[in-house]
Symmetry: C2
Subunit: 138 residues, 2 copies
DNA sequence: TTTACAAATCGAAATGATTACGATAGAATA
DNA sequence: TATTCTATCGTAATCATTTCGATTTGTAAA
């Protein structure tokens, strides 16, 4: 995902370019994992003194709606990361220290074909949490 | 899980019996799946007019701490269900129609030993959603 | 049964994350 | 540049949850 692509998707959907939006995208593209609204705010304040909370949260919602960002919840707050462009179904390992997300190649669903033969499976949620090699060796 | 067992665990840990606590346990034992603090409050208010939010949230926290309840987050709120008494680690299939939860025998973790050889896995979340045989055939 | 005291509850205020709003600034288009 | 929405600002409101001083209650010992 490039900033340009994100901006293009914004415009296709009738939204305007702003430097703040480009910077928000840049922030999440460079962050390899989940980040909070608070963390984004801290980052944005370095470039835009007095930026409004409205701007932070409104754009986070917009980007998630446009599927430029994905989110999950933890300890009562929402965490965001750049969306995975690969259209194929996959799961993630999430580093609890730095937030890095590693896409996993396998899906555990086949494990249960036998056990749930009589059941109709619609969806599933699967995430692994721990420490990435970098954080583990520190 | 019986109400008596829950009360016993409360006492073993130096907490007192109250009718409200017994009723909270009853509520979650009879509930088929996850319930919100708000839903519990609505239920409790039918028996205890003017019950304090403090009582609701304090006991939810206590019960989760004592592992009588388990929780997950959705749409900015915490949802609770009665904990599974079997001490062994397992996952669930959850029927989206009737709320039935079927404990699963297998855990998908071994699938990833190779892929995450350099990673330190602490925890994982895995749930399957769909229709149980009864609901599917209706 | 009564007493004593820590724990539980109440009523209400505080907190933290998020959302909403009226006024102003700014991007896009002709 | 003039026009027209959209975006942002500054601040207030909202929602779930936590906290707190005062009061009540469970429970164990007298």
């Amino acid at each position: 995902m490039q900033v340009d692509e994100g901006i293009a998707i914004l415009k296709e959907n009738g939204h305007k370019y702003t430097d703040k939006r480009a910077d928000i995208l840049t922030y999440f593209i460079h962050a390899k994992g989940y980040r909070s609204a608070k963390a984004l705010l801290a980052y944005m304040e370095t470039s835009y003194t007095g930026i409004s909370l409205d701007t932070i949260y409104r754009n986070l919602r917009l980007f998630e709606q446009l599927e430029l960002l994905e989110s999950r919840e933890k300890n009562g707050e929402k965490l965001f990361k750049i969306a995975c462009k690969s259209g194929t179904h996959h799961h993630h390992f999430i580093c609890e220290s730095c937030g890095l997300t590693k896409p996993l190649q396998k899906c555990p669903l086949p494990v249960y074909t036998e056990e749930l033969a009589d059941y109709h499976v619609n969806t599933h949620a699967f995430e692994l949490y721990g420490l990435c090699p970098t954080c583990h060796n520190r």
